[in-house]
Every structure is written in structure tokens, then in C-alpha cells.
């Protein structure tokens, strides 16, 4: 019942709110939810705190944008190329870092992300620190570009990606993969004793995660029409995916979506009410909320809903 209601609300949203700003917020929520859902596969289900997913976001954004700018390749094909590159990057990154456990894995991820960012900043061919402006094409679904003040087409595009990602995670959750992912999170040695090869399954989780993050990257580029290392290859991008998943509920299907709604909601609300100087204040509230949740509600918004449901019964 609940998913149907959620779907109806999600589909009706841009019809009810036809102004550009609320539609933009809807796009932001869906895009961030997609990234958080992707992050949740490694961070939530498999328990590997990968704070370098900005690499995949960046690869997605840069691959499609550069292919379009320099070779006139359609962004949809660029998106596909981006996902393939991202998955290859996930294998390389995962293969070298998964032997590290716990904090060391996280540190290695951060270092990797910084290296990739530094390479892009210093390579003129990739736009360097200046970034890449996405060339304007005719507005159409085929060109992955929609102009004007109506953002509904962008909204439905990203909503579709999010729905696909949620469906994939839903299926994974109930399959061998999902059981193995959680077993690795709970106790890696225990899992190995039951014939689970942790390296292999962590890699699969990482590749899935990379795939969806990369799609979000291409979408971002086509939506904002400008990318640079500061916006798509920066550490805060990695951290915010993690925050949304944690706040919503790690290792749950809907947690990252709730987390994205909550965090984007708070960040936009504080930004709007506190004007141009709101940036820092919204981040402070953001940080405070995360701390409060970590202390009082470690299972996130999903855990809170579960408790409310239990109390009702």
C-alpha cells in the first residue's frame, strides 16, 4: 500500500507544483536519493564505509560531457560509457582497497577520490580546474536536454532512474547477493566459514554502487549543464551520500530516500529562510541532526518508523 501511495505522490508532484523551484527541489531529492541508494549498497548492506563514491559520480559526469563536447556523442551513450568506466574503476579501486578493513578502507577511498580530483584539476584536456560546459542541443528526451522553466521532464527522468535503482536493490535484498552482503557486514570471518568469498561479493556491491552513482553523475551534468572538479569530484559529495543513507537508515530499501528528502528539505528550507548567508547555518543544523541521530536513533528514520509501527500494534 505504502509504495503505491509513494509512487502516486511522486508522479503527481510536478503536476501539483508547477513552479520551477519546487520542481528543482524534487529533482534534487530524486538525484540525491539515487546517490544515497547507490551508496547504501556498499555502505549499508555490505558495511564497507566507502567515502570515495564521488569518483563514480565524477566519472559519470565527465565521461558523458567530454564525449558530447569533443565527439558529439549522444549523452545516453555517454551515460552508458560512464557506467562501464565507473564499474571498471570500482574493480580497480575495490581490488586494491578491499584487503583493508574498517577505517583503513575508508581512508583509502578518500585518498583515491583526492587523487582522481587532483588529476582532473591538472589535466587541461579534461577541462582542468575551469570545468566543462555542456554544449546546448535541441530540447528532447533523445538529447537528454530540456530547456525552459518546466523542469518536469528532468524530474521524470531522474525519478525513473531512482525507481530502477530501488527495484534492483529490492531484488538484491531478497536474493543470495543480499544475504551474502549482510553476512559480510555482520561478521566477515563468520561469512567466510559459510563459504562466502568476501572479496568477490564486496566487489559486486561496489560495482552496483558505482553503476548507479555514475548514472546520477551524467544526469547532474545534463541538468546543470556545467561541471567542474569542485562540484562533482569533491569530498562533500561522497560525504552527503553517506549522511543521507545513515540518517534514513543503513541497509534498508527506503532509508536513503527518506534521508535524501529530510536532508535536502532541511538544507533548502534553511537556505531559503536564512537567505544568502544561510549556507553555513544549514550545514550546522545538518551536522547537529546527524549527531543527534547517531546518538539517539542509530537505526535512522526507518528505525524510528519501525518503532512507531510497533507501538501502534
Amino acid at each position: 500500500m505504502l509504495p503505491v501511495a509513494a509512487a502516486v505522490i511522486a508522479l503527481a508532484y510536478p503536476k501539483v507544483f508547477s513552479l520551477p523551484y519546487p520542481q528543482h527541489v524534487g529533482v534534487l531529492i530524486c538525484m540525491n536519493a539515487l546517490m544515497a541508494v547507490a551508496w547504501n549498497i556498499t555502505g549499508g548492506y555490505t558495511g564497507q564505509v566507502a567515502l570515495g563514491n564521488t569518483v563514480f559520480f565524477g566519472i559519470g559526469a565527465y565521461t558523458s560531457s567530454l564525449l558530447l563536447r569533443d565527439f558529439g556523442v549522444n549523452p545516453w551513450i555517454g551515460m552508458l560509457a560512464g557506467t562501464i568506466l565507473s564499474m571498471i574503476a570500482a574493480v580497480v579501486l575495490g581490488y586494491t582497497t578491499f584487503r583493508l578493513r574498517g577505517y583503513y578502507f575508508t581512508i583509502a577511498c578518500i585518498a583515491m577520490a583526492e587523487i582522481v580530483s587532483a588529476i582532473v584539476v591538472n589535466t587541461r584536456r579534461l577541462g582542468g580546474a575551469v570545468g566543462v560546459t555542456i554544449p546546448i542541443r535541441d530540447a528532447s528526451l533523445l538529447n537528454f536536454q530540456f530547456h525552459g522553466t518546466n523542469k518536469a521532464p528532468y524530474y521524470y527522468t531522474i525519478l525513473t532512474f531512482l525507481a530502477v535503482a530501488l527495484f534492483v536493490v529490492y531484488r538484491v535484498e531478497r536474493s543470495k547477493l543480499g544475504y551474502y552482503f549482510r553476512a559480510i557486514r555482520e561478521d566477515e570471518d563468520g561469512a567466510r566459514a559459510l563459504g562466502v568469498n568476501p572479496a568477490r561479493y564486496k566487489l559486486i556491491a561496489f560495482m552496483l554502487s558505482a553503476l548507479f552513482t555514475s548514472v546520477a553523475g551524467t544526469f547532474y551534468a545534463q541538468y546543470v549543464m556545467f561541471i567542474d572538479p569542485a562540484s562533482v569530484l569533491a569530498q562533500p559529495v561522497s560525504v552527503s551520500m553517506c549522511l543521507m543513507a545513515v540518517l534514513g537508515g543503513l541497509g534498508t530499501l527506503w532509508g536513503p530516500v527518506l534521508g535524501a528528502m529530510a536532508l535536502i528539505g532541511i538544507s533548502e528550507a534553511t537556505r531559503v529562510t536564512l537567505g544568502g548567508t544561510g549556507q553555513a547555518v544549514d550545514l550546522m543544523i545538518y551536522g547537529l541532526l546527524v549527531i543527534v541521530f547517531a546518538v539517539f536513533q542509530p537505526t535512522g528514520l526507518m528505525g524510528m518508523l519501525g518503532k512507531l509501527k510497533a507501538r501502534k500494534e
Binding site: 553476512a183 561478521d187 566459514a193 563459504g195
Partner: protein, 242 residues
């Protein structure tokens, strides 16, 4: 040929020789007890067989297959399942989900894995608690869950590391009954145990380690009368004068 053959196994940790030239075997269908005082090298030997350690010397053959250099997942895939001395259940998962992880190893489909898991839960008596979180179980039930999980992988050899430690007499008896039932299913069992009253009556054969070396092997009766064994456990002056 024996199901499991360990020949001249030596495992060192730096200067410490945990297992020194140990040779032993387990035959198909047997219950073999591995005993010895604290620090005798029981768990080390156990872990070498289960793929956790790579021994420096010696060879481990399982069903004729050389598994000396196997890692834990390979050992499990070959048909050796184990439990842990300090329980390693997946605390945040339900009892059923814990067992599902095990049963996926040799299942073709999700339904198949589920069926196998439920079967094992009924067999081990954990079925009424299948929806509990593993963290909510008593220590006895956690140990039983580890056994269930291991059984779900359809092993040929089940290795139990101190399955009775920390259990009260009633729980111990229940565990013994469970082990006997597993054995009747045709699964070979190798168990490390501290509690003598438990291991003596259920083992077909006993292997005794002391300071990393094997000092005795044989039927429980013979082993418990062996002066070397009594010396290792109680000290020299308790050896009956004859």
C-alpha cells in the same frame, strides 16, 4: 582411506610452535574428539584444517583432495563446515536469515535455500525462534544457531569448536543430543572440547594434544587410562602407581 588426513602438520607463530608434527585422521561417519589442556594447540589445528591458518609444514587431505593451502571459504566449499569457539552469529539478522546464508552455498534458487534453511531449523529445534534476531538468543541457542548455519551448507565434515563451553548441564545434554542426531544423519564430526564428561561418552575416538604434540589417540576408555594423558592433565604425581 580416511575422510580427513593430517600428516606431519607444523604451525608456528613466531618462535612458538603451536602444532608440532601432528598426524591424525578422521574416518567417515566418526565422531572424533580433540582434547588437551589449555594452550595445547587444539584450536590452532582446528583452524589449520578450516583454512584460517596456513601451516608451515605438513599436509591436510580431505576426501583425497589437498586442502593444505585452502582459505576458509574454499574449505567450506570442499565440504568442511565449522563453528567458532567465541560465537560469530550475524547478530543483526534473524535466525532464519543466518541459516539462509549457509544454505545458499549449495542451493539453486531462493526457494530452495529457504526450504533447506527451514529444514535445518526444524532439525536443530530452532524453528520456533526463526524470526528472532540472533542477538536476542541465549548463548546456548547462539551455539546451536552456529551449528544450524554450518549444517545448512551440507557439509561432509562438521567441526565444532567448544560447542559446550559456557552451557549449563541441561543445555549441555541438549547439545549432546543434537550432535548425536547430526552424526546419525551421516555427517562426520570433529570436535574440540574441554568438558571431559561430555566428550568421552559421545566420541568414537579421541585425539589428545599437549604442548602442540599429539600424545595419545584411540578409544575414549584407553585414552583416559593413558598415563601420558593423565600426566598432561593432572601432573605427574597423580599417575597411578602400578
Amino acid at each position: 582411506m580416511a575422510l580427513l588426513e593430517v600428516t606431519n602438520l607444523t604451525k608456528r607463530f613466531g618462535g612458538l610452535v603451536a602444532n608440532d608434527d601432528v598426524t591424525m585422521s578422521v574416518n567417515e561417519g566418526e565422531i572424533v574428539g580433540l582434547i588437551g589442556p589449555n594452550g595445547a594447540g587444539k584450536t590452532t589445528l582446528f583452524n589449520s584444517i578450516a583454512g584460517v591458518y596456513n601451516p608451515e609444514q605438513g599436509k591436510i587431505l580431505f576426501r583425497g583432495e589437498d586442502i593444505t593451502r585452502y582459505n576458509p571459504e574454499q574449505a567450506c566449499q570442499a565440504g568442511i563446515a565449522r563453528t567458532f569457539q567465541i560465537v560469530r552469529v550475524f547478530k543483526g539478522m534473524t535466525v532464519l536469515d543466518n541459516v539462509m546464508v549457509g544454505s545458499y552455498l549449495r542451493s539453486q534458487s531462493d526457494a530452495d535455500a529457504r526450504e533447506r534453511a527451514l529444514e535445518v531449523l526444524k532439525f536443530t529445534g530452532l524453528y520456533p525462534k526463526k524470526d528472532y534476531l540472533a542477538s536476542a538468543l541465549t548463548i546456548a541457542d547462539k551455539k546451536r544457531l552456529e551449528m544450524a548455519r554450518a549444517l545448512a551448507t551440507r557439509p561432509t565434515l562438521l567441526m565444532l569448536d567448544e560447542a559446550m563451553a559456557g552451557l549449563n548441564p541441561t543445555e549441555c545434554q541438549a547439545a549432546v543430543d543434537c550432535i548425536r542426531a547430526i552424526s546419525r544423519e551421516g555427517i562426520t564430526i570433529l570436535m574440540v572440547e574441554h568438558v571431559m564428561e561430555v566428550i568421552m561418552p559421545i566420541s568414537d575416538r579421541i585425539v589428545v594434544l599437549n604442548s602442540g604434540k599429539k600424545i595419545a589417540e584411540g578409544e575414549p576408555k584407553a585414552v583416559s587410562a593413558d598415563p601420558e594423558v593423565i600426566k598432561a592433565y593432572l601432573g605427574g604425581k597423580y599417575v597411578a602407581r602400578s
